[in-house]
Symmetry: C2
Subunit: 339 residues, 2 copies
């Protein structure tokens, strides 16, 4: 009988590791391949940063409540967010789309209107792509490139004990936006005459439908002359991203519940949905904020950035990734799917 | 009532043009974006070439007769074939995969074994990717990068009247391989005890399942000091590719039936399937051979390359793209989906 191991037994990261390990490196100018947010390709003076994503209807997005224009914008955001996570400036994208016959030209126009707005906001060029038929639903592949000086590159792996763990923005909003939209969808399906009740959900819905990549933070860090010691963008939730940084850097981490930034609307929405706001922030995902570490000496400068919060520090206890609760209780940081 | 235009009314090229036109260019170093086989990004001394494709099970491949290892190899081939078409040397790829729960780890291992073999053959690095769930079947996105000196870049648009139209290899084989495999599939579905009859089909089946990108030709051209005036790889059939070169260069073309290279096995298979071998060659697609033009003065050198054939020449009659038949009759060159 043939061996058959279910992919679920490996998990996504296990699968990636398994797939990537056998590959030899042939090109001297490939400075960094699989294993970080993006790949690094050496140009003469600057490095080219490149990253790719594959998004599938029904897995990554639900068109029953996602306007195609917002989806177009979001596709670009999540691709360039990986470029930001390398401390690089985005430059180009390529987009492949697979379309079932459910989609009209006008629908594709809307999708690309959102992509165009994002290209203008991020000052990047669409330089290629592919369009094809899809037997079912919408499929989107997106590749983003960026550039960065070799002295400015930030990977996940250079955090040191005592470095301050910082985050941009706030967390959990995108999840609560998703929950709100899902609830309205169910209400609508049960009774199509019902009007959506999203009045007090405008912030969280926008966090879900139209997230931004934080190049404002990247530019502020440059103006301050600060290069983070490690950085990642939060697509899978704050806890998972901290665990990624710790694993890559070989450090432990200690963060503080009281410091985790959660917007009031996120807090109220979570309460309404009988969800812990803290869990939403730690495990929610899709916030596309930056999670990074800076040395103690750089922290004085970083503190001045309005939308950055220090939430804890790295430690030399590499087996201890913990959160200090408001009650002073200490709990392990965990993330679904992370082992 | 909302406007609704079916995508089919535009065709693939019309759709791409419609989607690409509104985008402004922001980056000075984007030397060439949408509209050729790949995008050109300027590095200091060399240009980076990048291209992306999206492949969907049931649209681009049929796993009932395509071994996953061959599929992995073919994915890389068709991505780097676009790099060859720019006269560039491939350097890196990124691959995204969407997998339904039908696929086991072993199955994905097989796919990546083929990708790995191709990476070794082409001496390129896998530098990134994405893996995700798919509700149905296998989805693959692939992005390839390459480098080329700015003096060596070959686009589609620089062919001149009287330039010689050359091709590598032979045409129509991949289509006849596909037809043979499809027939065996139907036989197997009707009676699973039947053994496949592919004995005299080994060449055409290999052309379909494991095509090669023609970097041997790229290297030979360099050794001879020849830079083609235009070039494209043949994914949609020889006729479509010539029409592409003519349209981009603003030329006409005259090719000769008697010069079109068709392998004996392709010829026999086409006859067996009641298909014209010439139609298979002109409209078959998936051969991944190079179609290029060189100046008359360079042709003396190119003639020496064993696997290159001159099939005609460019003309200044831009509305005339014709083929001279063995009977001396002159017919228009046409390609399905090309307008």
């Amino acid at each position: 009988m043939e061996n058959r191991t279910e992919i679920g037994t490996l998990g996504e990261f296990g699968l990636i590791k398994r797939l990537a390990t056998p590959f030899a490196q042939h090109q001297g100018w490939t400075k960094l391949g699989i294993g970080d947010d993006a790949a690094l390709l050496e140009a003469a003076n600057q490095l080219t940063v490149t990253s790719t994503e594959l998004l599938i209807e029904g897995v990554h997005f639900d068109l029953s409540y996602t306007p195609l224009q917002h989806l177009g914008y979001k596709i670009v955001t999540l691709a360039v967010s990986d470029i930001a996570a390398m401390n690089a400036i985005p430059t180009q994208i390529m987009i492949g789309i697979g379309l079932s016959n459910r989609f009209s030209v006008e629908a594709v126009d809307e999708l690309y209107a959102g992509i165009k707005t994002a290209c203008e906001d991020y000052q990047i060029d669409l330089v290629g792509g592919d369009t094809t038929a899809s037997p079912q639903g919408l499929i989107v592949s997106v590749t983003a490139n960026g550039v960065v000086d070799s002295t400015q590159v930030v990977t996940r792996s250079n955090a040191k004990p005592n470095d301050v763990i910082c985050v941009s923005g706030d967390f959990g909003g995108a999840l609560m936006g998703l929950q709100s939209l899902e609830r309205e969808k169910q209400v609508f399906l049960a009774n199509p005459d019902m009007q959506p009740e999203l009045d007090n959900k405008s912030y969280v819905v926008l966090r879900q439908l139209k997230p931004s990549a934080r190049f404002d933070i990247i530019h502020e860090l440059r103006e301050l002359g600060v290069v983070p010691t490690s950085m990642i963008d939060s697509s899978d939730g704050l806890a998972a991203e901290i665990l990624h940084l710790c694993e890559a850097s070989g450090t432990g981490a200690r963060i503080f519940e009281k410091n985790i930034p959660i917007d009031d609307e996120t807090y109220l929405a979570a309460t309404e949905f009988n969800l812990s706001p803290l869990t939403a922030a730690l495990n929610g995902g899709e916030d596309y904020e930056l999670v990074f570490t800076v040395s103690q000496s750089d922290f004085e400068k970083v503190e001045k950035i309005a939308d950055v919060t220090a939430i804890g520090y790295m430690t030399d206890l590499k087996n201890e990734k913990v959160m200090v609760m408001k009650s002073d209780q200490i709990v392990n940081l965990t993330a679904p799917g992370f082992n």
